[in-house]
C-alpha cells in the first residue's frame, strides 16, 4: 500500500516534533555543561602536591592546661563556634577541642588539643560512599561539601570524633571555609593558609601565646623543623594500634 497524503503529513509533524524536542533538550543541558566546566576550573586544591605531606607535632608538656588559644584561633579563622543558635551543645560543631587526660594509676594530668589527625589511610575517606570525604595529595583530609550527602558514615568511622555534622542553617560564613546545613565538616589544617605558605591558625596562635607547643611542617622534608624534632625526640600517634599513620603526632603522652 502506497503512503497516503495524510501519512506524509504525520511524518512531517513527527520530524518537526523530534527537531523541536532535540532543541529543547540541548538548551536545557547546555547551561549545565557550561556550569560543570566552571565548577571544574582549576581549584586551589590543585596546588597540593604529593612531594609534601603536611603534619603537626604537639608537645603536651608545653601545652598549657587552661589555654584555649588554638581553639579560639580556629573558630575565628574558619567561622565555627558561633551562629549555631538552635543546636544543643552536643549538636554544635567543634573542629578542634582541648582534651584533659588523667592517668588512672598515677593521677598525672595532661592537656592537649585534639582535631582531625589527617590519617594516611583515613577511615573516613574509606567509608564515604560518594568520595566527598577526601584526601589531598599533600595528605590533608577534608570534605568536599558539594558532594557530601550527609550520611554521617564518616563520623561513625572516625576514631577521633573529629567530625561534626551541621544541624541547622548557617549565615555569615568565611569565604575560605564554606559550611553548609546537612553536611559534615572538620579541621582541614587550614588548607587555604597552607596553600599560601602560612601556618594553620592554631599553630600560629600557640606561638603567639609563647607556648610553642605546636609545630607545623612537611613530614617528607627531612630538613623541616617537624622532621628534625621527630627524628630527635620521636612522636606518638593517638590509637597507633589502628595503624592509620596519622599526620598529627604528639610528644609527652
Amino acid at each position: 500500500m502506497s503512503p497516503t497524503k495524510s501519512d506524509h503529513k504525520t511524518d512531517q509533524y513527527r520530524r518537526k516534533f523530534l527537531a523541536q524536542s532535540a532543541a529543547v533538550a540541548g538548551l536545557s543541558i547546555a547551561p549545565g555543561i557550561v556550569l560543570n566546566q566552571v565548577a571544574h576550573a582549576k581549584a586551589d586544591s590543585d596546588k597540593a602536591s604529593d612531594t609534601n605531606r603536611w603534619g603537626m607535632l604537639i608537645d603536651t608538656n608545653k601545652c598549657s592546661k587552661g589555654c584555649t588559644d588554638c581553639v579560639t584561633a580556629c573558630q575565628d579563622e574558619n567561622g565555627w563556634g558561633t551562629g549555631e543558635t538552635h543546636s544543643s551543645k552536643e549538636q554544635q560543631a567543634q573542629w578542634i577541642r582541648k582534651v584533659t587526660i588523667t592517668d588512672k594509676q598515677t593521677g598525672h594530668v595532661q592537656s592537649l588539643p585534639l582535631m582531625c589527625q589527617h590519617c594516611e589511610t583515613a577511615p573516613c575517606v574509606d567509608v564515604c560512599p560518594t568520595g566527598a570525604s577526601m584526601q589531598r595529595k599533600d595528605g590533608i583530609v577534608q570534605v568536599d561539601k558539594h558532594i557530601c550527602i550527609g550520611c554521617r558514615y564518616c563520623m561513625m568511622a572516625c576514631p577521633y570524633k573529629a567530625r561534626s555534622f551541621i544541624h541547622e542553617k548557617l549565615e555569615l560564613q568565611k569565604a575560605t571555609a564554606p559550611r553548609g546545613i546537612g553536611t559534615v565538616e572538620s579541621c582541614n589544617m587550614c588548607a587555604h593558609r597552607v596553600d599560601k605558605d602560612q601556618n594553620p591558625a592554631c599553630v600560629e596562635a600557640c606561638s603567639k601565646a609563647e607556648h610553642g607547643a605546636m609545630i607545623f611542617g612537611d613530614l617528607k622534608d627531612a630538613n623541616s623543623a617537624i622532621s628534625i624534632e621527630l627524628k630527635k625526640h620521636g612522636g606518638e600517634q593517638i590509637r597507633a594500634d589502628l595503624g592509620l599513620n596519622t599526620g598529627v603526632r604528639y610528644q609527652g603522652l
Binding site: I147, C151, A157, Y160
Partner: protein, 402 residues
C-alpha cells in the same frame, strides 16, 4: 497436590479501605516529619555529633535486613525445590521489595542532604561498603522484580529457578553488606567484628519471616481464605529455628568479646551498666524477642494457635528493633577509647556515655517505613494475583492424606 490458583483479593470492604487509610496516614506523618527535620535542620531531632545515627537508622536497617529475610519462602521453594512453599513464593518476593523500599525511604529521608540522592547514585567510592550497599540495594530491586515476573507470567516460568537462585545469592550478599556497615567500623568498641556479617544474615531470616508470617495470617483471616495447618506449621517451625539461630550468634558475639580484656568495658556497658541499653538487651532482645517467642512456638499448647504465633511474631519484630537499638545507638553511646587506661574529659563530651533522646519526628519517620511497605503489599494483592485462593492442606501439602 493441585496447582495453586492465584487471585486478587476483593478489597471492596470498609475494613480494607480503612487499612489503606491508616497506613496512608502513617506515610503522610513520615513525610511530614521529614519536612520538619529538613526545613530547619537536624537540630530538631535527638541526634547529635555524639549519637550521629538515631531512631530512623534503627528502623531503616531493620527493614532492609527484614527485606532480605522476607525472601526466605521464595528461596526455599525455588532454590531448594520445596514445592509446599511455592504458592507463597510470589507474596514473598512482593514483601521483600516492599520492605526494602520502606527501609530505603527512611534512610534517604534522614540524610543531611536528601536532595543530593542523585550524587549518591552517580558518584561511587568503591572502597566504601556504603557505596557497595547502594549497588546491592538497586540490584536487589532489579533481580527480585525479574524473579517475581518469572513466577507470575506463565511463559517465563521456566526461568524462575535460575532467577530464584540469583536472588538467593544476591540477598545473602545484601545482608552481608548491611552487617559489614558495622563490622567495618574499626574504631568503635561495639562494632569492628566479622561476626556482624553472618549475624545480620541470620537476623534477616528471623525478622523477615516474622513479618511474612503476620502478613500471611492477617491476609488469609481478613479475606476469609483457608490457611491450612501444613503451611502454617512449616512456617512457624522454620521461624523457631531462625530465632534460635540469632540467639546463637548473639551468644557467640558476646562470649568472644568477654574473653578479650580490651572489650570488657563495652561488654559491661551493654550487659550490666548501660541503663536503657542493658534493659533493651535483656528484656527486649533476649527475653521478649527470643525466649518467649521460642517458648510460644515450641510449646504444644500455643504452637498450633494462630493468635499465639501472631503474638510471637510481633515479639520477634519488637525484639529485633530492640537489638538494632542496642547495636546502633548503644554502640555509639559507649565512648570512644582514645587513651586506654586514662580518664578523659573535654568540651566535646569525650570519655562520657553519650545521651540520646529520640523525638516523635524520628519515630514517625521510622514507622513510615513500615507503613510504606505494608501499603505496597496491601495495594499489590488487590490489583495483581499474588495470593493463592486457598492454602488449605489438600491444596498445598504434597503428602496430604484425606
Amino acid at each position: 497436590m493441585k496447582k495453586p490458583v492465584f487471585k486478587q483479593i476483593d478489597g471492596n470492604t470498609t475494613n480494607y479501605w480503612m487499612l489503606l487509610a491508616l497506613l496512608g496516614g502513617f506515610v503522610l506523618a513520615a513525610i511530614g516529619s521529614h519536612f520538619y527535620m529538613e526545613h530547619g535542620g537536624h537540630y530538631v531531632t535527638g541526634m547529635s555529633n555524639q549519637i550521629v545515627w538515631g531512631l530512623p537508622h534503627v528502623f531503616a536497617v531493620f527493614l532492609i535486613v527484614a527485606a532480605s529475610g522476607a525472601l526466605n519462602v521464595a528461596s526455599i521453594s525455588s532454590v531448594f525445590g520445596k514445592t509446599a512453599y511455592k504458592p507463597l513464593a510470589p507474596l514473598s518476593t512482593l514483601l521483600a521489595l516492599a520492605l526494602l523500599a520502606g527501609g530505603l525511604m527512611v534512610l534517604v529521608l534522614d540524610l543531611g542532604r536528601p536532595d543530593r540522592l542523585i550524587v549518591a547514585m552517580t558518584q561511587y567510592n568503591f572502597k566504601s561498603i556504603f557505596a557497595w550497599n547502594m549497588i546491592l540495594y538497586n540490584g536487589f530491586f532489579a533481580i527480585v522484580a525479574v524473579y517475581m515476573w518469572t513466577m507470575m507470567q506463565r511463559s517465563m516460568n521456566k526461568y524462575s529457578k535460575i532467577a530464584g537462585f540469583s536472588a538467593f545469592i544476591w540477598r545473602l550478599m545484601l545482608t552481608t553488606g548491611t552487617g559489614s556497615i558495622f563490622g567495618f567500623l574499626v574504631a568503635r568498641q561495639a562494632y569492628d567484628a566479622a561476626i556482624m556479617a553472618p549475624m545480620f544474615v541470620v537476623m534477616s531470616f528471623s525478622f523477615g519471616l516474622a513479618i511474612f508470617m503476620l502478613v500471611v495470617i492477617a491476609s488469609y483471616k481478613w479475606t476469609e481464605r483457608p490457611l491450612g495447618d501444613a503451611t502454617f506449621n512449616r512456617l512457624k517451625n522454620l521461624l523457631g529455628v531462625f530465632v534460635a539461630g540469632v540467639l546463637y550468634f548473639v551468644i557467640a558475639q558476646h562470649l568472644t568479646n568477654l574473653y578479650a580484656t580490651e572489650h570488657h568495658g563495652v561488654e559491661a556497658f551493654i550487659l550490666r551498666d548501660g541503663g536503657i541499653y542493658t534493659n533493651m538487651f535483656w528484656y527486649g532482645q533476649i527475653i521478649l524477642g527470643s525466649l518467649i517467642p521460642l517458648a510460644i512456638i515450641y510449646h504444644p499448647a500455643t504452637g498450633s494457635s494462630r493468635s499465639a504465633i501472631s503474638v510471637a511474631s510481633i515479639l520477634i519484630i519488637l525484639g529485633g528493633l530492640a537489638q538494632m537499638y542496642v547495636i546502633i545507638i548503644g554502640g555509639q553511646a559507649y565512648p570512644l577509647e582514645l587513651f586506654p587506661g586514662k580518664e578523659v574529659s573535654s568540651s566535646f563530651f569525650d570519655g562520657m556515655v553519650n545521651a540520646y533522646k529520640p523525638t516523635l519526628a524520628e519515630g514517625l519517620l521510622g514507622l513510615g517505613g513500615f507503613a510504606v511497605a505494608l501499603l505496597m503489599v496491601a495495594f499489590a494483592v488487590k490489583v495483581l494475583r499474588f495470593l493463592p485462593e486457598s492454602l488449605a492442606d489438600e491444596a498445598v501439602d504434597p503428602h496430604h492424606i484425606k
